[in-house]
Symmetry: C2
Subunit: 332 residues, 2 copies
């Protein structure tokens, strides 16, 4: 594919374009099993630059694949037909935080954990965090409709999108949705963009919902000899009207993989369930945790541990956090 590198350098600056093979390899894969070399990598810093790149690519029939951290597992950042990979990580400003509306406005390259670090001192958080939140960008999470361990209570990315600026394939900039939480006029195209994996346009700005950070979080783990029992416990927890802020299952292969990769010394039982409750009142968090503990016990759950302490919780959770990476290097 013929790409005019000099033209792209004029748009974004010489440092922000590369067709060096070493650079291209970096952008050839993500956390999926797919792999394909782009023809060039371009790193825009402004909406106008994105528009100019898209206009050039459109006029010359060059495919463009937007990319955040490349931590997605569905392969949506892999340039299967070559062309331009648009690295959005430099557009990483938090433009606005409006606690009175529980809304933020961000550029797509903002990293999830950075966003939550900025929100924490204000007693706020952005809930959908996937396991890769340390590197995942909000733009990538929108593209993938990312969800995470707290989505069982707080929902996925799609539940947090209210407004968006999107650059279309022809370079046009469109405003979708609104800057408010309540709006019902027109088609909700902003939610159509969620999960569209960059195929409908390049998200260059997003207005997203946030939530008050709960004061207490209590995490518990339960071991099960039988996977079936653990599955039944989960069904029972949900149908009993519990409101876990996390409810995760690790099966035996997962446990063994994590032990091998991290030497955690987890008991290699049939399955582990991790369950969390959160809230501003300890009695209410206790109530939820005790209710879920009881259900686990009913389904032969054992060795149940719980903790409110951040360090202890992080330790209890470390196996689940590294599950995906551990499985990728697991051999029987």
């Amino acid at each position: 594919m013929k790409i005019d590198i000099e033209k792209l350098k004029k748009i974004v600056g010489a440092n922000n374009v590369s067709d060096d093979i070493a650079d291209l390899y970096v952008y050839a894969s993500d956390a999926s099993v797919h792999h394909a070399l782009p023809t060039a990598v371009v790193r825009p810093k402004t909406i106008e630059e994105v528009q100019k790149i898209m206009r050039y690519a459109n006029a010359n029939k060059i495919p463009v694949v937007p990319r955040g951290a490349g931590s997605g597992t569905s392969g949506h950042t892999v340039p299967i037909d070559g062309g331009i990979v648009l690295d959005m990580k430099q557009m990483n400003r938090i433009l606005d935080i409006r606690p009175e509306d529980m809304l933020i406005k961000v550029e797509p390259g903002v990293v999830d954990d950075d966003l939550n670090r900025a929100l924490k001192p204000l007693g706020l958080f952005y809930p959908p965090a996937p396991a890769s939140s340390r590197i995942a960008t909000i733009g990538g999470e929108i593209a993938a409709n990312a969800s995470g361990v707290r989505s069982v209570k707080y929902g996925a990315t799609r539940d947090y999108v209210y407004g968006m600026k999107v650059v279309l394939a022809n370079g046009d900039l469109v405003n979708l949705g609104s800057n408010t939480r309540v709006h019902s006029s027109g088609y909700q195209l902003e939610r159509l963009i969620v999960g569209s994996e960059g195929t409908l346009g390049v998200v260059v700005e997003a207005t997203m919902g946030i939530r008050p950070l709960p004061k207490y979080r209590c995490l518990a783990v339960a071991n099960f000899d039988k996977l079936q029992d653990a599955g039944n416990a989960i069904s029972d927890i949900i149908s009993s009207g519990c409101e876990p802020s996390m409810l995760e299952l690790m099966d035996k292969i997962g446990i063994i993989a994590v032990n091998k990769a991290m030497d955690l010394g987890l008991k290699e039982v049939g399955a582990i369930i991790l369950f969390e409750a959160d809230g501003n009142v300890k009695e209410a968090v206790d109530f939820e945790i005790e209710k879920m503990k009881k259900i686990c016990k009913k389904h032969n759950g054992k060795d149940i541990k719980k903790s409110y302490d951040l360090v202890e919780r992080t330790k209890l959770f470390s196996g689940r956090k590294k599950l995906f990476a551990s499985l990728s290097q697991y051999k029987e």
Copy 2:
């Protein structure tokens, strides 16, 4: 407009088609200010009937406007170009309730309050209820992206849609989304349908999220001499990380209108705020209510009353519940 009434009668039965002027008048308006007579009213009972009607209308270029209860305020059920009004109220079966997945499957004509009456004994509820929930149908709520007083905590209709069967203009039946809560493949067309006011197709089945019904609800009201103070209290409540399950403001005109229409004897102050908290643990509900009371007082709120009792809560809320109807008959 020429419509073959006999043909429609063959599809849905003679009792389910009308071009009688008295019937047409009933379908000429909704809760909006708009008004237009349809050419015929058709009441299907099955998906196949809807498909046949759409095929006939499409072949003959006859506009079709789907309609639930006609309680919408945006005029989306008014047939501005005449044609067929498709009354969906006979397709009113609750097809499935799955507490273990917190999902239900319903036909579009199910009335919101009927759905919640079916869910209540199971300890569940469908939260987005608009003020018209006594008559509003789920299909109409999807068409309008309806929200209600509890949307401040629980979100609008769009946050509850997971899967859908839709009959397109040409009569084709399409499955959108999924029967599960977690799905990220393909475009999320099911959420594009939400708020599209019947313009993209006829929703004939929907898989919707539900929530556990909280054990306690506490409603409080506060009077304010100045509207500005009430507005500031609301901003402060939201930005302080409170989680009201309802947060409504009535201004002076609203209060006077309700008093005139219902003789409620509300104090005709500058504004009233109604705020509610809910949860399974009374301490937590109390905590939220007391936090919001304190904020109201800080902004000169007074005469604060609160109640956990359903009868008392219904009384406190009756003014707000009838606000829309009262305003419609209000004269200065």
